[in-house]
Symmetry: C2
Subunit: 189 residues, 2 copies
DNA sequence: AAGGGGTGTTGACAAATGTCAACGTTTTAA
DNA sequence: TTAAAACGTTGACATTTGTCAACACCCCTT
């Protein structure tokens, strides 16, 4: 699965990335079953994951112990509790495989080693951060400016893959509405 | 006002930042009146701003042309449409001074020049990104997991300064609720 | 001092969304 | 393969939140 990561990086930084093979060999392949937790709230998130295949849910529990989904991340993207990873703090969120996943994982020590020894690697990290941030910005704007119905339409327009491949329950939680409301509003479109 | 920025950077990177004075002289001081727009949706955001004093509102318009507030940023923090700035794209958001502000601005060309010539400067940028991202994460989690009342309580606990110094109208828009609902729920606490 | 615009609060009502329950369907696990 | 569990939909009703209007208040400006 390393070839997917190689391609991911080359697409973004060009074909001439010095030290690329050193970077690639540092990642370990992990196979995760559907439903398995990759990061648990309260524990330290000391890896960053490249998703070679599958789909991860990033969530917290609300007052009634429902899972409320902050993000859904699919293959060819990065996922981690970056705040926990960067600050060596306990994770404030959980990360769960909602499909069987193949992840390429790098631990904190190796990560910082690469940051110092491979000049281009910090560009990789910056791009992960920028992409995660941009994603968050759009998401907040949907919450402050759109109704539930319009958030559904937004999701259909901008992340149509999610609608078809994930359970209604998960999508509803991602949109911040109940499963029943989601079912009813969907029928209206 | 440059001394505030110097202190901001030294607090985060230590007192021995090589090239720090080169960095500082690159910033231009801008005085902004209350109500003035710093960044306009559709135009390019080609500066990053350090807020020496005052307060900025980052917002978009909803379908009814109400301002819906994605973020509120106070002094000793950074503000920009980072997506527009980084990608040289039109800004998707507006930024407005909700108090008289003193900003320290750096334009894109100077910014990238510093990134290449001052080794530590990209750490500054990374910290801006990380802080912005962390802030977004918490904010999304309040929307997916909390009711309007609990979002108000969250704001009182985690950003109490905002409650006392900003108008109710602005806070309500930041919380994603109407002014009237905000007024009523406040009375319940 | 007087007028005007924005703000904050409150009431009455409407609209949106949540909760609980029921039921058929699909998926999972033994 | 079969039983159990989870899922998706729908109905009835409760709760939350929004909208519109009125009004008092404050801060401007003139």
């Amino acid at each position: 699965m390393i070839h997917l990561l190689r391609q991911h990086i080359q697409t973004r930084l060009g074909n001439d990335v010095s030290g690329l093979e050193d970077v690639l060999t540092t990642f370990k392949e992990r196979h995760i079953k559907r439903g398995e937790l990759v990061v648990r709230q309260g524990e330290n998130c000391d890896h960053v994951y490249y998703i070679a295949s599958g789909c991860l849910q990033v969530f917290v529990y609300d007052a009634d112990v429902n899972e409320t989904t902050r993000d859904i991340v699919i293959e060819d993207n990065w996922c981690a509790d970056l705040i926990s990873f960067g600050g060596s703090q306990p994770a404030t969120e959980n990360i769960k495989a909602v499909e069987p996943c193949i992840l390429l994982a790098i631990n904190r020590a190796d990560f910082y080693h690469l940051m110092q020894t491979v000049p281009q690697f910090d560009k990789v990290y910056r791009q992960i951060l920028e992409a995660s941030y941009a994603n968050s910005v759009y998401r907040i704007n949907t919450f402050v400016s759109l109704s539930a119905l319009d958030r559904i339409k937004w999701l259909m327009d901008y992340r149509p893959k999610l609608m078809s491949r994930l359970s209604s329950k998960l999508i509803a939680s991602y949109l911040g509405i109940s499963q029943e409301t989601f079912s009813r509003l969907k029928a209206k479109i």
